[in-house]
Amino acid sequence: MAVEQNVTNIITNMIKSFFTGFFFLTSLSVLAQTGNVSGTVMDGDETIPSAKVVLQETNFKVLTDFDGKFQFREVPVGQYKLQISSAYLADEIIDIEIVAGETLKLRKIQMKVDDLVQSMGPVFVSHKQKDGDGKANKLQKNESTIGNVEYVGDGEQVAYNAADNLQKMPAVTVRQDQGEGRYMSVRGTPTNWNSTLINGDRLPVADEESETRTMAFDVLSSDLLDYIKVAKAITPDIEGDAIGGSVNFITKSSPDSNEIRINIMSGYNAQVQRPVYNGNIFIGRRSKDEKFGFLLNASTYVRNYGTDNFEVVYGSNFNQGLNRLELRDYTGVRSTYSGNIALDYTFDKGHKLFFKGMAGYFTDDEWNMNTRYNYAIGAGSTIMLQHIHSKAQSLLYGGEFGGEFNLSKKLDLDFKVSHYSNRFGFGPVPFQGRDDRNGYLVMNFEKFNVQFRDQIYLDKFGNSYLSDNNGNPIDDQGNILTDPTLELARVKLIGDDNPRGGDPWNAIQPIVGGGNEPSDYEFSGAYTELNETWERDPIVANVNVSCEPNNKIFFKAGGKFRNKEGYRSLSLFEWHQNFLVHSDPLLLTNYPNAMNNYNGGFLQELGQPYEGQFLPFMQRDYVDGFIQSLGDTLREEPMTVAHSDYYEFVGSTYSYTEAAQAGYLMADYQLNKKWSLIGGVRVEATQLKMEADTIYDGDDDWFLAHVYDVPDEGYQVVDINDDPYDALGYDRILEYTVGYPVEKVQLQLNYIAPLPMLHVRYDQNNNTVWRGAITRTYRRPNFIETKPGSPVIDFTNLEFNQGNPGLKPSFSWNLDLSYEKYMPNAGLFSVGFFGKRIEDHIYRTITADIDPQLGIIYKSYQNANQPVYVGGVEANVKKKFDSLGGFWSNFGVDVNCTYTYSRMQIPGRSLSQSLPMQPALLFNAALVFDHQESGLKASVSVNYTGGYLMEINTSAILDASEELKLLHDNTDYDVFMRDRWIMNASASWQVNKAFQIYAEASNLLNTPFYIYRGQEYRPMQVEYYSIRATLGMRFKF
């Protein structure tokens, strides 16, 4: 694997990247006779970022950029020794000669591991140190800021979803959906506090919920990525909407040489007992004169998945009775197709132009066969067999065009103009092709008049009673209780809530009186949830100027401008039985039906508590066509003004535009060999305009109305006393209905965020670094959080989401301190402290379950009226057991943990509590095996995310003194996430230079995703994803 060191021809100048801001330069007086030197530092095939490059006997000193490149300009002519050092590699010293007016280009300077004899001239490296750890470690050591870097490289990581790569990084947690990473968080801070960037820009967000500004990663394959950079404390040149931290995904750029890589993987998902596939092809080319390079990268990732889930909805604010129990068997196929292209051209003068384009198309064909026990449907209890099918489709595409220019010897300029677009919608279910009625299909067969036998009566004192056969409450002697002052409530209680001993959380058993047969189930309606969501950034423009008046100080200034526009519309299309045509029940048993395949047993992790209770569902291949097959036996009910629920959907369509401008100025000052400072200020201005419909003045301002179908105008709602259409004889769709004055409301929210920042770095010695930072950051409210007008409805989950146009952005002061000790062979020990003080923290409230008949939950958002405090300590140890010698020296560990203490005072509660969405403890540990002689690598990692509070129940009632008072002073009606362990294992074998085999098994512990209400025995959502195993191979030419 010898690679020849290339020392090639002189070129006029060299590429500078965005990371020039972190260069350290020492002063040097400018001489008339100067030349330049540039090069790329390599470790085998990998470039080494942040290696220290020094011209001995001078003050020229620089760190290589992310692509391993460095450059010295205006070096006095003469002979020098160029010394290159990096964290665990031997120093490399090269003799060079600077010629006046020319640039010495050093191609591919090879580093080698430090246990080999250091040599001059052509360097032979016995084996590649190709792991991301080493590279990341080097980067981290040399960074001025506090953060971490994860190197993704040429598909080096086994994870396919970009978020899954993040999971391995210290202090990073990933929130999951169906077992796949979706949103990331630094140090466990709320997702909304964190900023996810692609090449330095926030991407537009459009997904099914679209409740956040943070992009869901489903659509993004890690094949697109070069590396991921996490900044825990940001610098002024990073977007400031990042209280928790910032994660920057850098997409691949064209390589330095011609390359073809092919990756083929297949796997198995144990939950669904079906396969997983991934394929990727990468083609990189560079022209002979090395000025032009491009890459083409195409990737497909198709995976079957399955989830066993049960959900419980609690119906009341006054007791913990169950409203419903749902047993959901999810199966589906997710497919990601993505591609990217990168071009760059370097001009003679060193100016460079580049283009990067990317597209990701994501589909999720999801089935959910849901058995739903409705305890508290008003008119008698029912059991539903819900057939839920959807084909979600997301398309993200965009690109950026930019250039880098050396304006003068001391002045560099780069610019970038980007365009990105993201769109979400539902595909062809239940109808083929494009159809306005297609959406998230829910088709219900239902058994009515169910008598549940697992309910008890509770009186207002908490005493419990059983019931007789007719459901009357009886005392222990069997007498029917008739005293209304007891305020008896008939409820299903579980766990310790039930004084007579309730079902444990893992076996909540509905007891159905009078039998439960498939023939009891009749069609009770179908609907599709319609969802059109898009967001795009038509123009994002970045300009940065950097200036180095001398080698001790470095200025950087820049500006950013972004226009964003978005639209979202949720609606409903219903089908009901048309009783004028057919009044007999449409029985499930009259259609093709079969027992659902529970793929190894439903909740087999809990011992299959519902085995034998399941009923058949309609056969899947019949579900989509069912509606069409019934013809006029069903009547259609679109969500028009003629629909009785129309006004509940009024707020579910909205649009917005947001303009943001940012400018910053920062200086990087090297006081002396040990101390350096980065200081500066960033100012961001945001102008948000949102438009949505509202029912003016709420419930009181209604009028009696007729609804007409007016030609060319559509449905019109007119006051019966002011009816222009009556005389014209148009068709009335509805008479004497209620109209509400629906008005468009606009929100205009402008705010300016001045964000001063100061970073200090102290190099105690070559291997010990202290860092400190004080930064100010903020968080823009999410669009749904400030949405004016009527609430947005989440129909299937029976939630209303009421925006709060009065929300202010949150601002945070952040203090970060860290100590890092670097050890040979990628060893690292670090501890850190961080503290945050957040003003106007935005938190989610629930005024839950006012009506247990429907189980509707109202959610809204508030600014905390007192500052929120978050403080934490974190530690990270990376160590190879090289001191053990022999076989054991191939092992290493990487352990990190973060403990966070947070306090928030909820208005109206007597005690403060921990911050919602903030786990106290995060822990990652990996045991790594790396046998370089055989090319064998393996690792086992565990990941722990502590439990946390998710939502605060702020339901309030008027007390005796007519003051609004929170119903719940404690957290017993709040929503929590339980802690979770995840364990993954992976192994790879580099058979030869071109061929690698790898394997991964994830979610080995199969611990549940577990959300509960107040107490752990009160589950709300429990999901098992089971183990996923994959086997793959890579070819590289």
């Binding site: 008049n449 009357n472 449409l586 004497y736 008949q853």
Partner: protein
């Protein structure tokens, strides 16, 4: 159509009922107010506390019971179907709010039946509960209006009552049920009790509108009000007493002022038709449609001609041969028995305009006279306390004779 009606109505007043087609007995009109999910004990308490004055006035002046027992599925679809068709679930077929299995073709809503005898009758339904509008057919409504809120329902009802052509109006008020579901069906729950008071206010608005009809004095209105079920905890649909124990009240033309009490005939839930003797004596849901028909079709021939075809299960509160419910439409005078049913001791009261003397004779099945007396004249009414408590239980015949008329009733002593 609404505007047109107003104009016609105005014209009709001026021209004296010549503006539109009319049936005989067109002046017999019915308002049926259904309030969803009001427990009997809760209503009683609210009325006693003065928090439901409009319903209280109906109870004070009409025929009422707090002792009706729901015999079917205590959910709205089956309950309102019982009431509006006059037959039980085994016939109309609706056993859930899904409304499947309905046979309104054979057993329609009572307005369809009214129209068989009075083809020009006009009937309107106002409810905020969509399924009762879209899932029901052959219901005879000229218009089914679904305003989304109770407030709107009341306002629409008020507007409809200005239509002089209107003969039958059914208004459904839903929010008491919602309050029960949200907070508990219980007299101790303020939100539930407040919802009853609020509904009472809407009843007041509707009755005011009724009484403000221009031709009200010449119309013969009966107002029925009832509920479909009670509730326990925050639900209903089950078979417990609190879910099944309901009330109803009737006032208006020729309706006596009396209370009816009854024992629980037991549960008949899920389709078994209630047939036993107790059901024939106590107020039940199917009585509503039959009573409504009885009032709207005062000429009994049409009902009698259709008796087999209609196959009704309920009984009229106004029907003359019913032992429990006594009405004096063959007399010119108001006539009542209080209380009714009774333990053998009761008052007979007859309203009188002239100085008229009434005699009462009670005979057993064999014709043997067991009681005979003359009513005491109190100026505007005649009254006599009867006592047959010493006689055996069973059926007796009561004959009341005035100067120009006589009527015979069957009474049952329990």
């Amino acid at each position: 159509m609404f505007k047109k009606s107003l104009i016609l109505g105005f014209g009709a007043m001026v021209l004296g009922f010549t503006g539109f087609a009319q049936d005989a007995d067109d002046e017999y009109k019915l308002l049926f107010i259904g309030i969803d999910g009001v427990r009997s004990d809760a209503l009683q308490q609210q009325m006693n506390n003065g928090n439901a004055p409009n319903l209280k006035e109906m109870f004070d002046t009409g025929l009422f019971t707090f002792d009706s027992w729901h015999l079917g599925v205590t959910s709205s679809g089956p309950s309102w179907s019982d009431m509006l068709t006059g037959v039980w679930e085994n016939k109309h077929g609706v056993t859930s709010n899904n409304y499947t299995g309905s046979d309104y073709g054979t057993y329609p809503y009572f307005p369809t039946r009214v129209k068989e005898c009075r083809p020009n009758a006009k009937a309107v339904q106002v409810t905020s509960w969509q399924p009762m509008s879209t899932n029901v057919y052959n219901d005879g409504w000229d218009n089914k209006i679904v305003p989304p809120t109770d407030d709107a329902c009341a306002q629409v009802a008020v507007a409809q009552l200005q239509d002089v052509e209107l003969d039958i109006l059914f208004v459904h008020i839903d929010d008491v049920d919602a309050a029960g579901h949200g907070n508990g069906f219980n007299p101790s729950v303020p939100a539930y009790m407040n919802a009853i008071s609020y509904a009472d206010g809407l009843v007041g608005q509707i009755i005011n509108a009724l009484e403000s009809r221009p031709n009200y004095a010449n119309e013969k209105w009966v107002i029925l009000a009832t509920t479909d079920h009670g509730g326990t905890g925050t639900g209903h649909g089950g078979n417990s007493d609190d879910e099944r124990h309901i009330w109803w009240v009737a006032t208006g033309y020729n309706v006596p002022q009396t209370e009816i009490t009854g024992v629980d005939p037991g549960s008949y839930q899920f389709g078994t038709p209630p047939t036993d003797a107790v059901v024939a004596q106590v107020p039940v849901l199917t009585d509503i449609a039959v009573t409504a028909l009885d009032h709207c079709l005062p000429d009994n021939t049409c009902i009698e001609n259709n008796q087999a075809a209609w196959d009704l299960d309920g009984k009229s509160w106004l029907e003359e041969d019913n032992n429990v419910y006594v009405e004096s439409y063959t007399l010119q005078n108001e006539f009542g028995i209080y209380p009714n049913p009774n333990g053998g001791v009761f008052d007979i009261v007859v309203d009188i305009e002239t100085d008229e003397t009434f005699t009462v004779v009670i005979t057993d099945i064999t014709g043997t006279v067991v009681f005979q007396s003359t009513l005491d004249n109190h100026g505007t009414y005649s009254k006599k306390k009867m006592d047959i408590s010493q006689y055996a239980s069973g059926a007796y015949m009561l004959t009341l004779t005035g100067q120009n008329s006589a009527v015979t009733k069957k009474i049952v002593k329990n």
